[in-house]
Structures are given as structure tokens and as C-alpha cells.
């Protein structure tokens, strides 16, 4: 067997552990005495080490081992958490992430030993121990660790149970002559035979993989002779949460136990020595409750007696991991289904309702329509991912920035549970990161300036996400000095971005929008954090590519807010179908405000451009037939059909020949070959197989 098939699990879990380490370290930095956090960190580091070791990533194992040593001493209260230590630990995490990246990319951890970090740990360890020994002179007894203290009563109860367990454990095996022979032979060589029962955590999803890793771990200390159930059954996951093996080994019992416990998600290991007369073996069982909380002891006891009827089984998260490609396939099929459904709708004879046959046909079509819409919504829901997976790395980033910039700041996040389509989630990380860096670097003032301005010394950055209709809004707000409109104006004039005349008439909001133009940075000091002028325009382009929008509001002296709006989904949208000449176009419903019939006589001219005055608002008109070079358009009638679209505060009236109606459309790309003007955001297939292009209203406003 080969470990590569478990690589995926390894990568997933390592990511989870690293994320949890990052989060817990942040907590630890603030509350250096938080026992629970220290234990949590220790557990995560320990599992990481075990996993890396099993997969054969020696450098990663070495580094985690040294980290674990540090945590061990902290846990035993032999040394204190210092800020240099936390910095070192963060560097260690970064190095681990680097290993993981290497593994993801080329199945190899790379050759960086990160010796400097390891040295740092060792130095800290020595310094910490030397300094700490004067302090609380607590005995190094393992009982000092709070987790075990808490678990003690339960463990004691369990210990009683294990007496019987061991007997039962030994009785559960009947060794064949041949196997007895092997054990005897091994014993002649100075080895010992053991029966080991491995209990896997009942939250474990891939039991077979765990079992495999356990077997791998056993291989490092001894040899497996037999397993119950047999190897094939274990591989097929035909066991509950425990299985037993007969092992011969030169190692001591606790060493074997420790080797197996290194595999993550192993709850406990029971082990018993097989002596010559097998039936009257000496009992030497042990129970390890290292990984689980207080309840584990009793739970294990219950489980070993009657594995199938575990009474207090915790509520397991009923979820399945699905390859995203499979979901994409499903999504494509749903898209096809909707196209087919639209086809049926378009041939259903709307004007023949009276005919009984036709009306029942229409009923069925409507039924089908309902179902497809529901399926679509369900599939969309499956593809939704909480935004948490993107934003959870930001607290760490802000902490690092705070150190680097020597500004005190704190990040407050809310609405992490807000969900977005996976395709959006994948893309939104970088723009958000950029805006946050901007807020930290340019938005917030230095500590002294803040005190001078009468603000709290610690700057605050707020990241909040929430759903608003068919959009998800993400706001990044800081309480810094805000955007100095005059400064931006001066800069724009200096760069020739705007003319002095324009500067006179521009509103503050329009001037702030200049920040989103390419190569525009007002930072006086260029740092490597932000301010190279390749910033906000990239953010804007990226977000607009996702079908979203970004705007900035700022009050001088009080701070700025960046508001990002993103569509919930990308693949299927509601749209208004319109006619231009002989062609059909789709306009996304999300950008449409109203539809108006305007007499030609109402058209006014401002600076030679056509506008209309609609209920007090002056709206520029866009002749779509001209812009899109549509032949045979009939727009010179007495009255015009105008679709009013909006982007932010701006509006435009798109003149179309005729309206067809609302339609749920599947967005498809028109490929890279055709030189696409930005006006066309894609295409869709109509019910009759015809193609309609989708207009991007944002580019027309």
C-alpha cells in the first residue's frame, strides 16, 4: 500500500490544524495563561507531528516536534509565553504552511530545514526553563496538566473497567496454532506479543484510512500478525469504531501505545501482553485519555463492552465531503435541465388554454418549472460556502501588520457565517486582503497621531458581512483619519488625471472614486504593505469581474468604509429578454430599476447627448442599436421603450425595440477567441436552441 491515497486527508487536516493553531496562538498572545488554549495548541501540534511522521515528512515532523516541546513546557508551567516566543511560533506556522504548499504542489515537503526557527525554539526553551525554574516550582508530574486533572475521576472509573476489558480483550482472540507458533518464535528472539485494541474517535469520517495509518504506525515499532476483523474487512470499513491487532515487538508496551496514539483521531489504545499460556495472561492494560475530554473514559468502557449500542454518542455532524468537480457537473446538468424546461415552456401553446389537453399540458409544464427552480436552488445551496473560510486568516494578518507598522490595531469581524457561492469565495480573498492592508497602512493613523486626535490609541478595523436581497455585502470600516478629498484632488490634478475645470465641478464622492483609477496611490510613504499604486483598481477590476461592485465612503477624521457587493450566484440569473432588430439580448434583472415608455418628444439634449427627465432625475439615454451595431432596428417610432439600469448611484436608460419578458438564464462564456467588447458578459441558450447575448449593464452606465 502507498500513502499517497491518504495525501488528500493529510492536506485537509493539516490545513485545519494550522488554522486552529493560528487562531489559538492569537488568543494565547492576549491571554498567556489560558490553560484551555495551551492544551488546544498542544493537541493540534501533537496531531500535526504524528500526521507528518506517518506520511514520511521528516522536516515537517522535526519542526512540529520542536514546537510541541515548547508547548509541553508551557503546559507544564515551566516557562512563560513571551512575545518573542509567539513571534517565533508564528514563524514556525508559516514554515509549516510552506511545507504544506510544497506538498500540495509536488507531493514533497521541500528541502528547507528551517533550522533557524528550530534553533530559536531551543534557545527560547533553554532561556524559558532557566528563568521559569525560579518561578512556580510545580512538580513535573503529568497530573499538573489540567486536562488530565479534569479527566482523572473518569479515568479512574475507566481503569476499573479496563481490568475486565483486558481479560475480555485477550479472550476475544483465539489464536491459531500457526499464530501461536509465530509469537513463540518471536519470543525466542527476545520480542513480545501484544494484543492491541485501537478505539477511533466516533467523529472520524474515514475510518479505513485511519486504520491504515495505525497499521503504518505499528510497522515502525513491530510486526502485525493478525487483526480482528481481518485486514480486508478493515479496508472496507466493516468495523465499528474499534479494532484489534496482534503485534510482536521488541518495544515496551507504552512505546507501542504512544506510537499508535500519534495517529490523529485515535481516541484510546488498550494493550495487553500475551504470555506463554495465553489464557492466564498477566494483565497490564492501560488506558490513555490524552486526546479526549473527561467523558472519554466512560465512553470507551461502554464502547468496548457493546460497541454497537453506545449510549451517549455525541451528535455527529452528518456531512459528506464531495469533490467540487462533481458539484460543478451537477450544476451543469441542472443548467441543461433549465434550458430544456425553457424549451418546453416556449412551445406550450399559451393561447389554447381552453382546450383541456393543452391546459393539462400547461399544468405539467408549470409543475416542471417549479421543480427545476427548486433543484436549482438546492444545488446552489450545496455550493455555498461560509465566508469564514476566507476571512479566518485575517486576524493573523492584522496582528502581523500591527507589529510591522508599529501601530496598535484590532480587527473585529462579524457575519463570518454569511454564505457565498464557492466560485466567488475563491476569488474574493485577495481583494479583501488588499482593502484590509490599505485600512491598516493608510487608513489608521500612528499611535501618537491617534492620541493627539483624541481617539483611543488602538485603532479598530471592522469587517462585516451580511446578505441583502440577492447580494452579499462585505464592509471594511476603519476609524482612521479618512480620505482627504483635497489631497486626492491635488494629486489627480498633478498627475493630469482630471483637469482643473473638472476638479471644480466634481463632488467629493466622484473624487474618492478616482482612487479606483489605475495607478493612483496617495500614500506619501511607499511601503511594501501597500501603496505602490497597483491597488484599488485591481480590487475593482476583480470584484467587477465577479459581477459585483465596490464603493468607498469616507468622512475626514472619522474613517473610511469600503463596501463590496457581490452576487449570491454566478451561473444562473434572472434576466429581462429584449429585442433589438432581429436579435435578442438578455439584461440581468439585478441591474434593472424600471421600464418606461417615453414619447420621443420628451428627449432633451444636454451637451449634445440625449437625456430624459424622469420624475425629477436626469437620465442619459443609450441607443443600444447604435452601440451594438444592430441592423434593421426600428427605434425611430413615436414612443420609445427604455430600460432604466443603475450602477451604484448612476443611472442610464437603454433604448430597446421591444420587450419579451423575464427568463431564468444560464450564463455561458463565449470563449476567448472572439475579441469581446466589455458590453457582452456572456451568452445564454434559449429554449428553442437559439443563442442570446447577455448585456453587462454596468459598462453601459
Amino acid at each position: 500500500m502507498d500513502v499517497s491515497q491518504y495525501l488528500e486527508i493529510f492536506i485537509e487536516e493539516t490545513k485545519e490544524h494550522l488554522q486552529s493553531l493560528n487562531e489559538q496562538l492569537l488568543v494565547l498572545e492576549k491571554e498567556p495563561d489560558n490553560k484551555e488554549t495551551i492544551n488546544e495548541i498542544f493537541r493540534a501540534a501533537h496531531s500535526l507531528k504524528g500526521m507528518a511522521g506517518t506520511m514520511g515528512y521528516k522536516r515537517m515532523q522535526k519542526l512540529t516536534h520542536d514546537m510541541e516541546n515548547v508547548f509541553q513546557e508551557i503546559r507544564n508551567e515551566k516557562m512563560k509565553v513571551s512575545s518573542t516566543l509567539v513571534d517565533g511560533l508564528f514563524r514556525g506556522l508559516d514554515a509549516l504552511e510552506e511545507y504544506l504548499d510544497n506538498i500540495v504542489n509536488n507531493q514533497d515537503e521541500g528541502t528547507n530545514d528551517n533550522q533557524d526557527i528550530i534553533d530559536l525554539f531551543q534557545k527560547e526553551l533553554q532561556a524559558g526553563l532557566a528563568g521559569g525554574s525560579g518561578a512556580p516550582a510545580e512538580p513535573a508530574a503529568p497530573a499538573a496538566a489540567p486536562a488530565e486533572k479534569a479527566a482523572a475521576p473518569a479515568a479512574a472509573a475507566a481503569a476499573v473497567a479496563t481490568e475486565g476489558d483486558t481479560k475480555e480483550l485477550l479472550d476475544s482472540f483465539t489464536l491459531t496454532e500457526q499464530e501461536k507458533n509465530m509469537i513463540n518464535k518471536a519470543r525466542a528472539q527476545g520480542l513480545q506479543g501484544y494484543i492491541v485494541r485501537i478505539n477511533i474517535q466516533d467523529t472520524c469520517v474515514l475510518k479505513a484510512a485511519r486504520a491504515f495509518l495505525v497499521f503504518k504506525a505499528i510497522e515502525t515499532v513491530g510486526e502485525t500478525i493478525k487483526s480482528l476483523p481481518d485486514a480486508q474487512a478493515i479496508e472496507d470499513e466493516k468495523f465499528d469504531f474499534s479494532f484489534s491487532v496482534v503485534v510482536t515487538s521488541a518495544k515496551k508496551m507504552d512505546e507501542i501505545q504512544a506510537a499508535i496514539m500519534n495517529v490523529s483521531e485515535v481516541k484510546s489504545v488498550d494493550i495487553a501482553l500475551i504470555d506463554e499460556s495465553k489464557c492466564e495472561q498477566k494483565e497490564a492494560a492501560e488506558q490513555t485519555t490524552e486526546k479526549a475530554a473527561a467523558a472519554t473514559g466512560t465512553a470507551t468502557a461502554a464502547q468496548t463492552k457493546a460497541p454497537a449500542t453506545t449510549a451517549k454518542k455525541p451528535v455527529v455532524n452528518r456531512s459528506v465531503r464531495v469533490d467540487i468537480d462533481k458539484l460543478d457537473d451537477l450544476m451543469n446538468l441542472v443548467s441543461e435541465l433549465i434550458i430544456a424546461k425553457n424549451g418546453l415552456v416556449s412551445i406550450s401553446p399559451a393561447d389554447l388554454v381552453r382546450d383541456e389537453k393543452n391546459s393539462s399540458f400547461r399544468d405539467q409544464v408549470e409543475y416542471l418549472e417549479r421543480i427545476t427552480t427548486n433543484i436549482h436552488q438546492s444545488v446552489m445551496k450545496v455550493r455555498m460556502v461560509p465566508i469564514e473560510s476566507v476571512v479566518n486568516r485575517f486576524p493573523r494578518m492584522i496582528r502581523d501588520l500591527s507589529k510591522k507598522l508599529d501601530k496598535k490595531m484590532e480587527l473585529f469581524m462579524s457575519g463570518e457565517e454569511t454564505e457565498l457561492d464557492r466560485t466567488v469565495i475563491d476569488e474574493i480573498g485577495d481583494p479583501l486582503q488588499h482593502i484590509l492592508r490599505n485600512a491598516a497602512d493608510h487608513g489608521l493613523e500612528s499611535n501618537e497621531e491617534r492620541i493627539k486626535a483624541g481617539k483611543p490609541e488602538v485603532g479598530s478595523i471592522f469587517l462585516s458581512a451580511y446578505q441583502e436581497g440577492n447580494n452579499v455585502v462585505i464592509e471594511v470600516r476603519d476609524d482612521g483619519h479618512g480620505i482627504d478629498v483635497e489631497k486626492v484632488k491635488a494629486k489627480a490634478l498633478e498627475r493630469g488625471t482630471i483637469t482643473p475645470d473638472q476638479a471644480e465641478t466634481m463632488s467629493d464622492k466622484e473624487i474618492i472614486d478616482l482612487l479606483f483609477r489605475p495607478s493612483f496611490s496617495t500614500a506619501e510613504k511607499i511601503s511594501d504593505i501597500s501603496g505602490r499604486g497597483v491597488g484599488l483598481d485591481v480590487v475593482k477590476t476583480k470584484i467587477e469581474a465577479l459581477g459585483g461592485s465596490v464603493e468607498c465612503r469616507s468622512v475626514l477624521g472619522e474613517g473610511s468604509t469600503f463596501i463590496i457587493r457581490l452576487p449570491l450566484t454566478l451561473a444562473i440569473i434572472q434576466s429581462l429578454m429584449v429585442v433589438l432588430g432581429n436579435e435578442k439580448y438578455a439584461i440581468p434583472l439585478g441591474s434593472i430599476q424600471t421600464i418606461e415608455d417615453i414619447p420621443t418628444t420628451d428627449i432633451k439634449y444636454v451637451e449634445g447627448k440625449e437625456v430624459i427627465n424622469l420624475r425629477g432625475t436626469v437620465i442619459p439615454l443609450v441607443r443600444l442599436d447604435k452601440i451594438l451595431d444592430v441592423p434593421n432596428s426600428k427605434q425611430d417610432q413615436e414612443s420609445l421603450t427604455v430600460v432604466i439600469v443603475a450602477k451604484g448611484d448612476k443611472q442610464a436608460g437603454l433604448i430597446v425595440d421591444d420587450l419579451i419578458g423575464q427568463l431564468e438564464i444560464v450564463i455561458k462564456s463565449i470563449g476567448k477567441y472572439i475579441n469581446n467588447s466589455k458590453m457582452i458578459s456572456g451568452a445564454t441558450i434559449l429554449g428553442d436552441g437559439e443563442i442570446a447575448l447577455i448585456l453587462d449593464a454596468n459598462t453601459l452606465v
Binding site: 436579435e583 455561458k668 470563449g671 476567448k672 477567441y673 458590453m679 457582452i680
Partner: protein, 155 residues
């Protein structure tokens, strides 16, 4: 000896689809051909290159369609009953449709019948060689070059 020759020729033979564009016959390597469909309604894409007539729907997939006549600098197409769209799928790239006047036949060409050192035609790089077969000469199309952005050099 005769047997040997037979074996050799079947091994080194490439099949080409013979198509007519203007008054010339071209061959397109059959491995690139995904499908051949009759002329159908093409949805125009505004502001596209002139040789891209638009997009068509082939079994739910949206495929851009280009006119080889326009690309080669000939008169624009006059669609007839014989006009076909060849769906060509180059390696590692999305499919694209070629409008041709007519699809004639499948031609087997042995390696020794292909003259690669050819810059005799005014389309220059669109041609990868000239094949000799029983009914005359046939220009072998360099599909990758046709799809890439360049306009016909001769115009």
C-alpha cells in the same frame, strides 16, 4: 517488397478532410475535426473581429464561428446548400467553427506525398504543406495558425 510498401504506407498515412474554400481545395487533419454541421443561424457578436461571424449552439455548448474566406482575404461567404461548419478542436484549446463552401471527401496522404517546404501560397503560414493525391494538389491547413489572432498577411 510489395508487401512491405503496403504496410509502410498504411502506417504513415494521415487522413485529411478535403474542403473547398473559393476555388481551392484544402485539407484539414482529421484528428482536429470534432463535428461537421450544416449551416445554421449564427448569433452575431457586436464588435467582434470581422472574420468571426458570431456564435452557434452545438449541443448546449457555445462555439464561436469564423469565416475562412474572410480570414484568407477572399470574398465574404455566400451561403448555399453545400455550406458547412466544421467544428475544429485544437489540442488544449476550446473548439471553434470554420465555415467552408463545401466538404468533399476524406483523403489519405502518405508522408512522402506531403511537401512541407511550401510558401508558394499567398496565405503564407496558414498552410503547413501541400499534399499530392490522385486528383491533384491540396493545401494542408495549419489549424493552430488559422485560429491565432493574426490577419492574413497578404491583404
Amino acid at each position: 517488397m510489395a508487401d512491405n510498401n503496403m504496410v509502410a504506407s498504411t502506417l504513415d498515412t494521415t487522413q485529411y478532410i478535403g474542403v473547398i474554400i473559393g476555388n481551392e481545395q484544402y485539407g484539414i487533419d482529421i484528428k482536429y475535426i470534432d463535428n461537421i454541421v450544416k449551416m445554421q443561424r449564427i448569433t452575431r457578436v457586436p464588435k467582434a473581429q470581422p472574420y468571426f461571424y458570431g456564435v452557434i449552439n452545438i449541443r448546449g455548448e457555445i462555439i464561436p464561428v469564423m469565416s475562412l474566406r474572410v480570414k484568407f482575404g477572399l470574398e465574404p461567404d455566400e451561403f448555399s446548400k453545400k455550406t458547412r461548419i466544421l467544428i475544429v478542436k485544437p489540442e488544449q484549446q476550446a473548439p471553434v467553427g470554420f465555415i467552408v463552401d463545401e466538404v468533399r471527401e476524406v483523403i489519405n496522404l502518405a508522408d512522402e506525398d506531403i511537401d512541407k517546404s511550401s510558401n508558394t501560397t499567398d496565405q503564407g503560414s496558414f498552410i503547413s504543406g501541400v499534399g499530392k493525391h490522385s486528383k491533384g494538389l491540396i493545401s494542408l491547413m495549419n489549424v493552430a495558425a488559422v485560429i491565432t489572432e493574426k490577419e492574413a498577411a497578404a491583404i
